[in-house]
């Protein structure tokens, strides 16, 4: 292990659901993977190997769901490395272990998990952070690993990384900034320390997913907020949009297996569209609406 408690905790999350122990180390990593089945601008996938290239010069090699090797310039801090290891590389690691990483932030809901999906910038993390100020326990930020190996009972493996918020979101929610997510480049984004304990990392059934939808552009006169359940094919379509880095998933698991896992999640999880205006002045009203809905289902 490279000695990062955060990375060790993230690996324990995956190891808790079986498979080989995960090792991490610093060492030489190739610039390209030979015989790549998918080659993106900043990643390659070849057989049981995944390579991530980061603009700061760092490269991460993930092999066989069990080994993470980091090759990076000496000046990069732990944070500047982990930001990428616990994001895209962790997603590839999860796929290699047969898991389904979903692009969800999440909170505990009774004896389960409720996740919030949506496009980048939809407010997943901000909403989850706001709920923590109302007493909810944060389960995951940005990405939630799902064990979909048991039909009808998808399990969420939460808590592999620390909550990140944009500067204005910390102000909106009223939470304290711990430190910037990057020290090598100026990005107005910060780690926020909420709910970082072992209990929050316990695997629990994934009970609900709320897809956050901006009501921008709706005709005048309609409802300001709307939560509607998606079933059957509609639920699958919603879930498909929540797959984390689907190109990784298709390359590592294959399209068929990816959709088999998705079907397990769709069959075992309630899926909702949560439509709301993306307006700061209506943010807390939206939190109220969601909290009422969570309470009704909790």
């Amino acid at each position: 292990m490279i000695g990062s408690p955060q990375l060790e905790a993230a690996c324990r999350v995956l190891e808790s659901h079986g498979g080989s122990p995960i090792t991490s180390s610093h060492g030489p990593v190739p610039e390209l993977l030979e015989r790549a089945v998918v080659a993106g601008p900043m990643f390659d996938v070849a057989d049981r190997r995944f390579l991530l290239r980061v603009p700061n010069g760092m490269r991460v090699l993930v092999e066989d769901g069990a080994a993470v090797t980091i090759d990076c310039p000496a000046h990069l801090s732990d944070d500047d490395q982990l930001l990428w290891v616990l994001g895209s590389a962790w997603g590839a690691l999860a796929y290699q272990r047969g898991l389904l990483p979903l692009h969800l932030s999440a909170v505990h809901l009774g004896h389960g998990i409720a996740g919030f999906g949506g496009r980048s910038g939809a407010g997943k993390s901000t909403l989850a952070a706001a709920l923590t100020t109302r007493g909810h326990t944060l389960a995951a930020d940005d990405v939630t690993g799902i064990d979909a190996s048991t039909p009808g009972r998808p399990m969420a493996l939460p808590g592999h990384k620390t909550l990140k918020l944009w500067g204005d979101a910390t102000t909106l929610v009223g939470v304290e900034r711990d430190r910037p997510v990057r020290s090598d480049q100026p990005v107005d984004k910060y780690y926020v320390m909420v709910g970082d304990d072992d209990e929050a990392r316990r695997a629990l059934p994934l009970r609900r997913i709320y897809q956050l939808i901006d009501r921008r552009g709706q005709p005048e006169g309609g409802a300001e907020f709307a939560i509607s359940q998606r079933r059957g094919g509609e639920a699958v379509v919603t879930l498909e949009s929540a797959i984390y880095r689907p190109r990784f998933g298709e390359a590592i698991l294959g399209r068929r297996r990816l959709f088999e896992l998705l079907a397990v999640v769709a069959a075992g999880t309630e899926v909702f569209d949560f439509e709301r205006p993306m307006r700061r002045d209506r943010f807390w009203a939206g939190v109220d609406v969601l909290e009422d809905h969570l309470s009704a289902g909790g």
Binding site: M42, F43, V54, G217
Partner: protein
């Protein structure tokens, strides 16, 4: 008035397999959405009313954050805007490589060279560009409504700002560098590595059938010589039709602070909205380029 720059295709091998991208480029509020809706109607040959929220035009917007994240495999929200810029040509390579046919990409960026020396919109991927231009005096008015205010001094400062950027940082779209209005126009009309045809918004309004026929001919689209098909697509995207569609179904590109996205579309609104000093400010900054497009006369007066 018809304006065409670099519209010939001499020396640019259009048949090259990778050149599948058509850039639909404009400064904001210059008719880009209308043009995309027209092309959607034309290409589908649809006789049905236009569906504003399901534009059937293959291609995205150059500043799409979700597409960037998916292609690059890194979250753009954890990258700086400069880092994102340097990776954007790689995204367009992926789009060109994965596209079975032509993709029409909406662009508000100026056409520029990145700090590392690469072109933001590589000629090797490019079939051609349609450049839409609109009188900056009207753009100043339209932008103010789009931004939900009536402070035309503010929008004129934006038009006159050579370092003007929009979006980026935490916003839903990637950062786009516009330059000032003249710099933006010059960046597209000065392109020499691929064909660019410039269309004036005012000419599209005055003669939509003639101008859109010229546009589809430039793009060499199937059916480009079918006048009836052009007329049908123009009729399906008339401004009053778009306004009715927006009233009925909404339009996802409208912000909550805007009254309507399709507001008036009428050229010359600046005459009743802008003060003399505001007009002077725009003409002083952009007179040379405005004259080229017929927005000021030979004496330098706006017309």
């Amino acid at each position: 008035m018809t304006v065409t720059d670099q519209a010939t295709r001499g020396g640019h091998d259009r048949a090259a397999a990778v050149r599948r991208l058509v850039w639909l480029a404009s400064y904001p509020k210059s008719g880009n959405t209308w043009t995309r809706l027209f092309l959607s109607q034309f290409l589908t040959g649809s006789v049905a009313a236009v569906d504003l929220n399901a534009i059937e035009l293959h291609g995205s917007i150059s500043s799409s954050r979700p597409s960037f994240d998916e292609v690059v495999g890194l979250p753009s929200s954890d990258l700086t805007d400069d880092e994102v810029d340097e990776l954007r040509p790689r995204v367009y390579e992926a789009w060109a490589g994965s596209s079975a046919g032509t993709s029409f990409i909406k662009v508000h960026d100026a056409n520029r060279t990145l700090p590392a020396g690469e072109r933001l919109f590589p000629a090797s991927l490019t079939d051609c560009a349609v450049h839409l231009v609109r009188n900056p005096l009207d753009v100043a008015v339209s932008l103010a409504f789009h931004q939900g205010h009536r402070d035309y001094d503010r929008t004129i400062r934006q038009l006159n700002d050579p370092g003007r950027v929009i979006a980026g940082n935490r916003r839903s779209q990637l950062r786009q560098t516009l330059l000032d209005w003249s710099g933006h126009a010059r960046s597209w009309t000065g392109e020499r590595a691929f064909p660019v045809a410039t269309f004036r918004y005012e000419s599209l309004v005055a003669d939509p059938i003639g101008e859109f026929a010229r546009l589809v001919a430039f793009l060499d689209l199937d059916g480009a010589d079918d006048r009836a098909r052009v007329e049908l697509a123009v009729a399906g995207t008339r401004f009053d039709v778009l306004q009715s569609a927006e009233a009925a179904t909404g339009f996802r590109e409208r912000h909550h602070w805007q009254g309507r996205f399709f507001r008036t579309g009428r050229p010359g609104e600046w005459r009743t909205r802008l003060s003399a000093s505001q007009v002077t400010s725009v003409v002083d900054a952009h007179g040379a380029v405005m004259r080229r497009f017929g927005y000021v006369d030979d004496a330098g007066f706006p017309c």
